[in-house]
């Protein structure tokens, strides 16, 4: 089952203390496919996963979309979530866990419901993204609803420093936007409407209008 990274003990230099990956329950067979009789899967989740499975020549191709479906349902990839996907896809939970641990967008520990991914890659960081990330992190430090993560290049360097807020790209961010972003999220409004990337025109036109 997924290991919660925060519980893995580490030495000061960063290596994991031996034994971190020992199975918690040695009696359990890791290779068993969950039994549909004992693994309840909501009908709409099953339908969605089966629709994905049908659109590929090999049903395993649906692993990533299916994990996304159960992650959305459960908030994170909990053991139950992975078991549900494995049950529908007739794969072992171990196989899906192996896939899930590879990709950045799968959450292997419980998280807040608001995703704020702040790009801290080259283009954004030379324009001050690290300070923005720190400011958002500090402002939401004691609110468990927020999942603030530094992220590698999100592919919107022209609006750097930028962030992806629940999938919505916003930027260029300044220190003043941080509180506004948090308030918009809490109030359920569209986030920083004037700074959304989807409203931006191609560069030539944008700069002609905003010279």
């Amino acid at each position: 089952m997924a290991i919660d990274p925060s519980t893995v003990r580490r030495y000061a230099h960063g290596s994991r203390v031996p034994g971190w990956d020992e199975a918690a329950d040695l009696d359990k067979d890791p290779a068993s496919i969950p039994d549909p009789a004992t693994t309840p899967v909501p009908a709409h989740v099953r339908a969605e996963i089966e629709r994905y499975m049908a659109s590929y020549p090999d049903l395993r191709s649906a692993a990533i979309p299916s994990l996304m479906v159960v992650q959305r349902e459960h908030g994170w990839l909990s053991p139950q979530a992975i078991e549900q996907a494995a049950c529908v896809m007739r794969l072992t939970p171990a196989y899906l866990t192996a896939v899930a641990t590879f990709y950045d967008m799968f959450e292997l520990a419980p998280k807040g419901r608001f995703d704020v991914f702040v790009c801290t890659n080259i283009s954004c960081s030379i324009l001050g993204a690290d300070e923005i990330y720190r400011a958002i992190g500090e402002a939401t430090a004691d609110d468990p609803q927020f999942n603030v993560r530094p992220f590698e290049c999100l592919g919107a360097c022209e609006i750097g420093p930028m962030a992806s807020v629940d999938g919505e790209y916003v930027g260029p961010l300044t220190g003043d936007d941080v509180l506004r972003l948090i308030e918009d999220l809490k109030a359920g409004r569209p986030v920083l409407e004037d700074k959304q990337l989807r409203r931006r025109k191609a560069a030539s036109d944008h700069w002609r209008e905003n010279a």
């Binding site: 659109s55 590929y56 020549p57 090999d58 049903l59 395993r60 191709s61 649906a62 692993a63 990533i64 979309p65 994990l67 996304m68 192996a98 896939v99 590879f102 990709y103 950045d104 967008m105 799968f106 991914f117 801290t120 890659n121 080259i122 283009s123 960081s125 030379i126 324009l127 992220f151 590698e152 290049c153 999100l154 592919g155 919107a156 360097c157 022209e158 609006i159 750097g160 992806s164 999938g167 919505e168 790209y169 989807r198 025109k201 191609a202 560069a203 030539s204 036109d205 944008h206 700069w207």
Partner: protein, 455 residues
């Protein structure tokens, strides 16, 4: 400037261009109709004549790649690589969001050309809005009969699936993308066999970048020979470049290949911020060696071969510029950190090399390093290059070694200043004994003959 925004970016902001009605009013899907009346071989000839080179990074001629796909009745696949994750690159995002149907048209024509009946768009998971736009566009194309069984009454059938990734840079590498698309961890495969022979589900597979495929309908419209007249002899056509970093007007611009670097940076991008001067730039995404912005470099034509001759590469056409305020050590650290994070871990030189490079740069930033560390770091880069299944390791090694080579005095000054801050004082002068010296401590003052210690 000549040819600015003339092909793919022409009227890109026209309202409703992402719907099939507006796209067709502008002449969309006409080239698909024409292609279906031609022989697949005739379509391929146009692509070969155009000389269009892949826009994803490697710059391999698209027509030749298509011609490698074997003929026959086996299941063939076309995969559009929309996993745009190279730092500094954001052209495909804008293209897919604003003009999804042209991509779909390009995919259908490409699939007809190679005889594929199943196509996939592998889009990175972070592009939520763009994937939604594509999903809607694919649905419209099915409803209009451009996708599905017997397209427009011809013998050709095609199914197109938009597949969302989940955040992994390595999945932009073509064989890792195929593994990821098959539902596995995105590890690169050993080549050969190349994907054109044995790719997705073991079938012949053509993998092309978004921008390359979007050029296909345009090439058919004007004809391959006409297309090849634009640009330079070996770099034909227009290219989208993504400019970011410390410039006044960052963004995507479409230029003719061969435009001068000076025109790109000072005219299009508006030059440096007020009161600053440019220091250096990545000419083709974070994997390309950094070039200091000297007058010679500013005079270079921006095309595949000229940039390669200058010691770097055009890559995906992503230009990241930074000015004198930015420390090269910070840029180097961010670069190494990125590749350390994104290395899939399959090959040791890349997994360990990226990790140790990042750690050594951390050491420099913390003020614990000596100038000798630069030599060690440079030798680590040498040992990564060419020793892995894919080029992710090289993609870190090239920019890092170019930064050490071009900005060594700045690195050394940074090391001294950081040691000073840290209370360690100046480092003892040490020499590197060279890469052939074998194991042994490298603690000999300059000018003295090093002697290896016995352990």
């Amino acid at each position: 400037m000549d040819g600015l925004n003339s092909v793919l970016f022409k009227d890109i902001d026209e309202p409703g261009l992402n719907t099939i009605a507006v796209f067709q009013r502008r002449g969309g899907y006409e080239m698909l109709r024409r292609a279906l009346t031609m022989e697949p071989a005739a379509v391929l000839d146009e692509m070969l004549a155009s000389g269009v080179r892949g826009r994803g990074g490697a710059g391999f001629a698209m027509g030749r790649k298509m011609s490698f796909i074997p003929k026959g009745t086996m299941d063939k696949y076309l995969v559009c690589n929309a996993d745009e994750s190279e730092p500094g690159t954001f052209k495909d995002r804008e293209l897919m969001q604003k003009n999804p149907h042209q991509l779909i048209e390009g995919i259908i024509i490409g699939a007809y050309c190679i005889g594929a009946n199943k196509a996939f768009i592998y889009i990175r998971g972070e592009y939520v809005h763009q994937a939604d736009v594509l999903d809607a566009a694919v649905k419209e194309a099915y409803a209009a009969g451009f996708l599905g069984q017997r397209i427009l009454g011809s013998e050709h059938s095609l199914d197109l699936v938009v597949h969302r990734g989940a955040g992994a840079y390595i999945c932009g590498e073509e064989t890792a993308l195929l593994d990821s698309l098959e539902g596995k961890r995105g590890n690169p495969r050993l080549k050969p066999p190349f994907p054109a022979v044995q790719g997705l589900y073991q079938g012949p597979t053509l993998i092309n970048n978004v921008e390359t495929l979007m050029n296909v309908p345009y090439i058919l419209r004007v004809g391959g020979a006409e297309y090849a007249k634009v640009g330079t002899e070996t770099s034909t056509g227009t290219k989208l470049i993504s400019i970011s970093g410390q410039v006044k007007k960052p963004g995507n611009y479409e230029i003719v290949l061969g435009t001068k670097v000076r025109d790109i940076l000072f005219e299009l991008a508006g030059g440096p911020h007020d009161g600053q001067t440019f220091k250096a730039f990545f000419p083709g995404g974070s994997s390309s060696p950094v070039l200091p912005l000297s007058d010679d470099v500013l005079e270079l034509p921006y095309d595949f071969d000229s940039i390669a001759k200058a010691g770097s590469m055009l890559g995906s056409g992503a230009i990241i510029v930074f000015d004198e305020r930015t420390s090269i050590v910070d840029v180097c650290y961010k670069t190494a950190h990125f590749y350390r994070h994104e290395s899939c871990g399959k090959c040791s030189p890349c997994r360990e090399g990226t990790n140790w490079t990042e750690k050594m740069l951390k050491r420099i930033k913390l003020g614990e390093a000596t100038p000798m560390d630069l030599d060690i770091m440079a030798s680590v880069q040498e040992q990564i290059m060419g020793n892995c299944l894919c080029v992710l390791g090289d993609a870190m090694a090239m920019p890092v070694s170019s930064m050490i080579k071009n900005f060594r005095p700045e690195f050394e000054a940074y090391i001294e200043a950081a040691r000073e801050r840290n209370g360690l004082g100046a480092a003892t002068v040490q020499v590197n004994r060279g890469r052939n010296a074998g194991p042994g401590p490298m603690l000999v003052p300059a000018g003295q003959e090093p002697t290896a210690l016995a352990y």
